[in-house]
């Protein structure tokens, strides 16, 4: 009798459990793995409202951190937001799923300048999210001497008044730029040449911050920064004393994109999201919150004049820009170089 009751109870339990499991399955989700401070909550909410797809977001602060978590496995992401050189590496290692381009009709809105770039020549794996540069922010209320390039920042007169990105590859590429060497030419000999320069530069830095380098500038803790252009644009919007300078020696142009990792459980939802953010009226909202260079030509038309005039978002003239390529094993040597110099101090 007791056994029968137990079986009955268990069946009942199973009966109630199964439908709810079914419902949970029907609930559509998208696991988005993106940069911190890059995808406005407003856009995520709008997407959920339009499609009913729930978005789970997880953030990272560097391409390398994203790679660590992506390749360690365990978590299944549907959509990631790598920069150009990381896309190149991921394509090389066959870690990305090709996009079904028919599912993303809004691709037509993109400015052809930003599509089919060297890191993804056929435009099969990635869709540009925002482009930008790494340049110098000058607090002109404090710094009266003209700043035109990296050499002026690290001339020694602004010791401990500088914030830079906490990103080894960026830092080394600046030193190479002063020698006229390409950021993609990371040979051991070139790294050797960069070493003495970095040994004099790094002790002058007060803050390393990739997440929100604008904080130290806004708080008055530093007067100069080498930061993402979007951060610079926000500073300029807040106060015109923060001017943005693209280094005369040459600057890094990054193309942050959306891509779908191999084995993504909700690929279709990821493509829906890509298509959603490519709508001009959505894209223009992203620009409103994170004023990088918008690769969406239709969205740029909708920008307010003061947004389009922001020199950090849409730099005037024809600056010397270069995108990063995948450098493979040299990444380790670069980090070793920077870590050792930082530690030695």
């Amino acid at each position: 009798m007791k056994t029968i009751r137990l079986i009955l109870a268990l069946t009942l339990l199973a009966a109630t459990a199964v439908p709810s499991y079914g419902q949970a399955k029907k609930k559509q989700v998208l696991n988005l793995f993106c940069w911190s401070e890059y995808v406005p909550q407003e856009v995520i909410d709008g997407f959920t409202k339009e499609t009913g797809i729930k978005v789970n977001t997880e953030n990272y602060a560097s391409n390398e951190e994203m790679l660590s978590k992506l390749l360690a496995g365990g978590s299944k992401y549907d959509l990631i937001q790598p920069s150009e050189y990381t896309i190149e590496a991921l394509i090389k290692k066959e870690k990305l799923d090709a996009l079904t381009l028919e599912n993303i009709p809004n691709l037509k809105n993109l400015d052809p300048k930003f599509t089919k770039m060297p890191h993804d020549p056929e435009g099969k794996y990635s869709v540009p999210w925002m482009a930008g540069t790494v340049g110098i922010v000058v607090n002109t209320a404090k710094v009266k001497t003209p700043i035109t390039g990296y050499k002026d920042v690290f001339a020694g007169t602004h010791k401990r008044r500088i914030v830079v990105l906490n990103d080894s590859r960026e830092i080394v590429s600046w030193a190479l730029a002063t020698l006229g060497i390409s950021a993609n030419d990371m040979t051991p000999e070139n790294l050797e040449k960069a070493k003495p320069i970095l040994a004099t530069w790094l002790p002058q830095v007060k803050v390393y911050d990739s997440d929100s380098p604008k904080t130290a500038l806004l708080n008055g803790d530093v007067d100069l920064g080498i930061v993402w252009s979007g951060e610079a644009a926000i500073l300029w919007k807040k106060n015109k004393k923060f001017s943005y300078v693209l280094p005369a020696e040459g600057a890094h142009q990054f193309i942050d994109s959306l891509a779908i990792p191999k084995g993504a459980p909700n690929k279709e939802n990821a493509e829906k999201f890509i298509n959603y953010i490519l709508k001009p009226e959505v894209s223009v909202r992203i620009s409103g919150e994170f004023p990088y260079t918008n690769p969406n030509a239709e969205a740029v038309k909708l920008l307010k004049p003061e947004q389009r005039d922001n020199p950090a978002s849409y730099p005037p003239g024809a600056p010397k820009l270069e995108t990063f390529k995948d450098i493979g094993a040299a990444a380790k040597e670069i980090d070793k170089l920077v870590t050792d110099i930082k530690g030695r101090k």
């Binding site: 906490n166 830095v205 803050v207 390393y208 050792d340 030695r344």
Partner: protein, 300 residues
């Protein structure tokens, strides 16, 4: 008493029975899953290499340990990472001393307060934990920055002309560490103080000891278990802490926790991070073995 505290009883006269082992099983499983197994993985990784994308490749190498102790250019004994270790020990040591000096009187006061008030005071010590640790650290940034609350206040009251450089200095790091870990010292010391038998202190006074002597010879030895527990609870996590030195120190004087964290995230060099982690574990083990031997050697 002292021997029982200092070293485990190894004479084997009181081996745990089956029931004892059963009771210990959850703890042993926990220790195995979250201490022994991860340490073994770390040990294996520390002798591996990484590939282009930063994945661990299982081929044996001493390189990671060589990089810690030797200069990569000259091949001679290198002090780069030793400096990082020493800096972390100094930060953690300073933090512990300040926590002890500040926390002991507080714990004493709470422990000696009337029972009705004790709970209120203890709650006050714990209230900061109700807020996320990161938010509390960011709050310090708004207080200490050049245009921050403290500098603005000091300038407004004409106490200073120019703002002080407070944030992104070693002092800020130690302040952040003390702020975060102070409750971890107060609580165990409070536990000892609360249990302290007041008649023993009175006896010391009756036998002619002054306040200093009574404190030295009676109160400190009796609250020693709390002090030891508190010091360990502050010192050990403070050595590995990376968020505070990054956020409040600006990341310019890296601590060992920061360097290790960086290897696993930014640099994507897990083997080297593992080697640094193992070195830290070995240093702790040696220090522990050394101190427990000394405690045995000096009875009473």
């Amino acid at each position: 008493m002292q021997a029982a505290l200092g070293a485990p009883d190894t004479s084997g006269t009181r081996r745990p029975g089956l029931f004892g082992w059963l009771l210990m099983t959850p703890m042993l499983l926990w220790l195995f899953a979250f201490v022994v197994a991860p340490t073994l993985i770390l040990l294996v990784y520390s002798f591996c290499e990484r590939d282009d994308l930063g994945l661990v490749v299982y081929s044996f190498t001493w390189d990671n340990y060589r990089r810690i102790f030797f200069d990569s250019d000259t091949g001679e004994f290198g002090t780069t990472y030793l400096t990082v270790f020493v800096r972390s020990v100094i930060y953690a040591g300073l933090t512990t001393v300040i926590c002890l000096v500040v926390g002991y009187p507080v714990a004493w006061y709470i422990g000696r307060a009337p029972e009705s008030r004790r709970n209120l005071l203890l709650t006050l010590v714990m209230i900061p934990f109700w807020t996320s640790f990161l938010i509390r650290t960011y709050a310090w940034i708004t207080i200490l920055s050049t245009n921050g609350l403290l500098n603005s206040f000091l300038q407004y009251t004409k106490l200073i002309e120019e703002p002080f450089d407070m944030l992104y200095t070693p002092g800020a790091v130690v302040l952040g560490l003390v702020y975060s870990y102070l409750p971890f010292l107060i609580l165990p010391v409070y536990g000892s103080v609360e249990k302290l038998d007041n008649s023993l202190v009175e006896a010391a006074f009756d036998l002619g000891a002054g306040p200093v002597r009574a404190f030295q010879k009676v109160i400190i030895p009796l609250t020693q278990p709390g002090i030891v527990a508190g010091v360990l609870l502050v010192f050990i996590p403070a050595i590995g802490m990376f968020a505070i030195s990054q956020l409040m120190g600006g990341g310019t004087d890296p601590t060992i926790g920061e360097v290790i964290q960086n290897q696993f995230m930014q640099a994507r060099d897990w083997p080297f991070g593992a080697a640094l982690g193992m070195t830290l574990v070995v240093m702790f083990a040696v220090a522990f073995w050394f101190t427990s031997r000394r405690q045995e050697a000096v009875p009473g």
